[in-house]
Each structure stands twice: as structure tokens, then as C-alpha cells.
Symmetry: C2
Subunit: 426 residues, 2 copies
Amino acid sequence: MTNPFPIPPEYREVSTADLAMIASDLPNVADRIGGPSSALHVTEVSDGNMNAVWRITGPEGSVIAKQALPYIRVIGQSWPFPVDRITYEHRALSVQARHVPQYLPRVYDYLPDLGLLFMQDLTPHVVLRHGLIAGTHYPKLASDLGEYLARSLFYTSDMHLGTVQKNMLADAFSGNAHLCETTQDVVFTGPYWDAPLNRITQGQQARADALRADVPLKLAIAELKHIFCTSAEALIHGDLHTGSVMVTAEDTRVIDPEWSFIGPMGFDIGALLGNLLLSYFSQKGHTTGADDRGAQRKFLLDTIVGVWTAFDTGFRQLCRTKPGPLLHQKVLSETDQGAFVDRRLAAIFSDTLGFAGAKMIRRIIGISHVEDFEMITDIPLRATCEAGALDLARQLVLDRTRLAGPQDVVSLARQIDGTYPARNRP
Amino acid sequence: MTNPFPIPPEYREVSTADLAMIASDLPNVADRIGGPSSALHVTEVSDGNMNAVWRITGPEGSVIAKQALPYIRVIGQSWPFPVDRITYEHRALSVQARHVPQYLPRVYDYLPDLGLLFMQDLTPHVVLRHGLIAGTHYPKLASDLGEYLARSLFYTSDMHLGTVQKNMLADAFSGNAHLCETTQDVVFTGPYWDAPLNRITQGQQARADALRADVPLKLAIAELKHIFCTSAEALIHGDLHTGSVMVTAEDTRVIDPEWSFIGPMGFDIGALLGNLLLSYFSQKGHTTGADDRGAQRKFLLDTIVGVWTAFDTGFRQLCRTKPGPLLHQKVLSETDQGAFVDRRLAAIFSDTLGFAGAKMIRRIIGISHVEDFEMITDIPLRATCEAGALDLARQLVLDRTRLAGPQDVVSLARQIDGTYPARNRP
């Protein structure tokens, strides 16, 4: 298949040997790892669906190199994809570094001709999704991610910026349109018809068919897709699932903003909460004789409440301390501004729930699934776990304006989960 | 005051003598007017607030020349304004010419270095606002403007375009940010505090004070301002009042899209309906012994219903015949698509009413007023007319999600107008 996207003329897929040479020539990278290229050790550590990733280790330290391929890595040349997505990742990391450097990998260098980004090696961090599957608690996770969301979204929105600044930011990301279109397709369209690459767990066909025939749901999803297309609220990460977060007990980093664009805030918050809910519903597939995962389920629900609460608190605080022209002090008193922010947060919460539900559904009946469920080898049990997640997701989408706060979501999740007993639970 | 906006290096304010020379050198212009520059007659016909406008007449015809000045014409050098606004006007006319050429002035040439645009001389057209003040009926007006709105908005929206095309369009207009900021200020901010350039009719202070202390109103206006800033629905005209429409009994043309950007559809429709409502409330100030303006008032209310109905019909038709990726046939049946479009139109109607109300209020207690009221020399009568308009406007803003259709607006307008008897009516 011919690649329809422009590829930089100097572009080539780099090899491990190339990388040692390239890295040792870049002062900011060489400073981190030390030694000549012959002293460097390069290992491929590709993990996500999209890109090639290496760890480069030298006498003094290590860095991560990430290259965008002209196609989707896990699929191959048959699905061409724009190399310049990594330019937007680099750009998003640069913008966000002004507001949330403590929650990002540090960037050492970027070579646009090769679509090659050199970043901090986050060690001993693990991918949050894997940590949650393993049953690990992260006590700082909720407050860290809530603050990341509050600051990264507020500072790039009309709540803070004037229109000239906001439009310049929008211009810097509008070229990432093919990735936006792909998101629209895989999240809001593909799951709702028999798209050729959709997958489902065995035994799930009747549920998938029911969702694909569910007109109120499909209309609500179309409305969410319209919001995704038209609501230019803030610079969003665009793919903030639990595979885009790296954690230790003390530290939280958000990686991979290659899908970033100026979009609705609720899409980021919803992606995160939706994936935490997927983890919640998957837990009964990960029980062992020693661990019934009750504590982990509680931790996940607490984290959902905690993320929203920290976001809400941080966002309100920033609206008070760093207001832009939209919060005009001559027109709105401090109390009135608070009331306006209340309304904005209610709207963001409603979007959040809708997008959370859409993200959950697409990970169960769409093209791309999550390890939280895929690692459950007992297929009927996996299907039971997924069924609860689908029920909640549908209700989040349909009732997104009626649920008042995260506690309502948690109650609903508990209630629905209770209706699906785990036949295989010890 | 130093001008903070870039001015093209070759820019100068042109004179009538310049214009004859320039026009005769431009083949597309010379073709329209004929003759050497010595045979041309140039008359300044500036009318709007912003720009300088001339009619250039030659042996074979006439054209209009319009130059953007580096300041607001009616205010002067003390209010600098970007010359490149006319680049966006030219660009908007070019985009719209693909969809609604029959409702636009034809463009003959554009000289960006001089911010100078050569357009069709619309004769014998008059400015719609003046025609309405004079008591003239325009039988085709409602269907023409409804079709202009349906086509110009649909074809530049996500209902038709894919994201790549939509983002390219957004990029082409994002540089017009200063004009967006000015709109935000004069429509949504200035009227709601004692901004230095606000004006009111004598006797109106208590009403202005009441509106400026009306917290529910100000919160609803802040929400509308947020929609204006973030809702990237379509390429909108951005200033579609009755002074931006030129008419005869048979022909309707929309001029002056210098405020254009990718914004909410309801801002254009609301500007138009709001200005028709201002005309309605002004009519009792324009009665004569021979004409009580009853027929004109009915014509205006019929036009309001007719514009919305024609927009609604045309927009639905285009969604059926030219759907874009948002209206995905594999997901939504024809009936479901209809239901989705119903919801979109309900949301657009609600935005329309809010913006209509905001535009009405700003023309009575803000910086820039309308001749519909200003030409009423009996000041108490003018204040009475304005009072009805303000009452309706406030209700449109507050009840914008509760009014179901244009007929509700018309009933409300009639009812409110009835509570303000014209003391001076003959």
C-alpha cells in the first residue's frame, strides 16, 4: 500500500546500531548517558501499539528513544500512519512542560527528520495498567493525576488564555487532524457497526449486537462525537488511558501525547476514569487464593473519586488565581465567578462521563482491547467482567447529565458489579 | 497611539485619484467599468463603522472598492485595528462563493498590500436595516437568508467536512483572533459593566443598572461567551446584523464578513434574528399618520419565523444529501440520522436565542447602537421601544433552552411589546 502521508526526505527506520551513533552525537543525550557510542547498549523496548521504542544505556545513565514509524507498529505497513504525529507529541510535551513538568518525562532532544524523540528513562516506573492488573495501590495517583489534569487543561484553555494566544496554540496542533479522525473512527464509529477489525470475547456477540442496535445509545455517542469534533476547550492529551501513565508509589508521569489537539477537557478526564473503571470490572478476573482483590477494587473506586476531586479543586483554585478574559472581574464578582466555574465543571463532568462510557465500550467491542480483560484466560469469566463494564458504560453515556458527582458513578459501578457474580471466584 | 498590529510595508491609505489609477490597471475591474483612468469617477460612500468604501464608475459600469484602515474609521487612530481583517473578509467571500454565490457580492480583485478589495456594486440594493426602518417589505428575504445560513454553515461544518478539511479551514481564519476578541468584549463583556464607551438613551439608566446587577443574566451571558470562544462548528460570518445585508425586492446579498472565524452557528442566526427583533420593537417609533407600521411588524415577525424555518429545512436537506463522516450511514439509519439532526438543530436554536438576546442588549446599553432606535427622535418613545427589546432579550438569554421554536419567540415578542404602549402613537 502506498503511504498517503508525507515522510521527511531524510527519514529512515533507525537500527540499534544507528541509535548508538545518533545518541552519542547529541550533547543533551550524551550528557545523560556518558561514554562513546561503543560504550552504549541499545535494547528495543517497544510496548504501545504505535511506535518503536528503545532504551539506550551508557556508563552514566540511560535514556529512552522513541521513533514514529510511517505505519502502526503492531499492524504493519498495511495501516500507514503519519510520522509527524511525534512532532505533535514533542510539541505537547513542550507546552505541558511549562505547567506540569513534574508529571512528564523530560525531553532531551528531538530530531524531526527521523521522527525521533529522546526522553527521560522512567525507572523504576511501571505502566499504570500493568501495576493495576498486578494489584498494586498507588497512594499519590489520584492527587497527581487530578493536578496534572487541572493544570494542563486550565492553562491551555479560554479560562486562562486570550483568543490570540489560544488560536496560536490551536494552530500548532491543527495539523494532527489524521489522528483526530482515527480517534473518531475507533472510539465513536467502529464499535457501533460490524467494522472488519472489531474483536469481541467469545460469548459476547449478543451484547455487541444489542449495543449496535441501541438507538438511544448511538444517538448519544453521535452527540459525543460532535463534541469531540467541535469543542475546542483546551490542549488535551487525546489518549489518556492507564497505558499512558507510568508510576511508582511516589511518582506519576504521563507519556505519549501524540494524539493531542485542542479538544474537550472531558475527553482526557473521561479516558482516565473509563480505564480505571475497566480495571475495576476486571478485578474479579485477577483474584488469587491469597487476594480477593477487594482492597484493589476499593482503591480503584477511591481513585476515581480522588482524580475528579483533585481536578475539581485544582481547576477552581486556578480560576480564582489565574483567571483569563473569560472570567471578567468587572462583570462577575468573586461569588459570580464561582457560580460560573460551577457550571463549567458540571458541563465538564457530564462530558467526562459520556467519554468515559464511550472509551469503555470501544475497548470491549471495538478494534483495540485492554490487557485488564485480555489477560483473564478464563473466557466465560472475562465475558462476565466485560458485561458489567458494558452495562455501566452504557448508563454513563445515557445518563451523563443526570449523575451529579463521582460518588454516583462509584455507587452505580458497585451496584452493577454486584449483579455479575464471578462464577470462578475462589 | 502606536499601532500594535502589523501593517503591510506597501500599505497606504488610498485617495480617490489613486483609486482611478489602481482600478484601471486591474483587468477584472477594468472589464467591468471600461475606459481609461481619466474616464473614471470615484466617490467615497463609506457607511459602516470600520472601513473606507468608494464607488468607481466608468463608461461601462461601476464597482465598489473597500479599504481596511489601520484603525476603526468612525473612531479614528485612537482605536487601532488590524488591516489584515480584510484578508479574512476576502477569504470568507472566497469560501462562501463555492456554496452561496447567489447571496454574495462578486469579488473582482484583491490587493493584500493595500488591504483593498474590489467588489460588485450592488445596485439598486439598499442596506436591509434602512429598508426596514423605511417600512419596506422584502418577500424573498426570509427564504434567501435561511438558505444562505443553511448552505454557508452546513458546508463548512463537521456535518459535511472531514477533520483534515475542517482543520485547514480553521487554520485559514485563526489569525482573525483580534476581531474575535473585540466581539467578545463589545457583545459579552462591555455592556455588563460601566465600560467607558457605553452609551444609553436618556431615561434608560435604571434599566442598564438593573441588567448590570442581574446575576442570572450575567452568568448566562458568560456561558454564551464561553460557547463563542470554544464552539468550533462552522465558518461563520461573525457580524450578521441587518446592516450586513443588502436587498431589493428580488435579491438578497450578505456583505462584510470581516469578523469571520470558525465559531458557533447560532451566533450568525442569532445576530440576524436579534436585529430583526430590534427592528420590530423600533417600529412604533416610526409610525406616521398614514402608516401605523402594523403590517411591517407582522412582516418582521413572519420573517423571523421564515428565516429559521428555511434554515432548518435547508440544513436538514443537506444533512440528508451531503452527509459527512459525522453522519455515518453504517452506524445511523436514515431515521436515526434524522433524530441526530433534530438534536443538533435544537441545540443550534437554543444558541441562536441566547446570541440573539446578547446582540439585542449590546445594541442598547453597549458601545454601538442601531439606527432603528437612534433615528427615533422622540427620546421617551425611543426609550419605551428599547425597554421592550431589553425585556425580550433578557428572556431569550435566560430561557434559551426552554423556548421550543420561532413561534414561541414571536408570541413572546408580541406579548412584551403589548405591555409598552407607545404614548406618542397617533
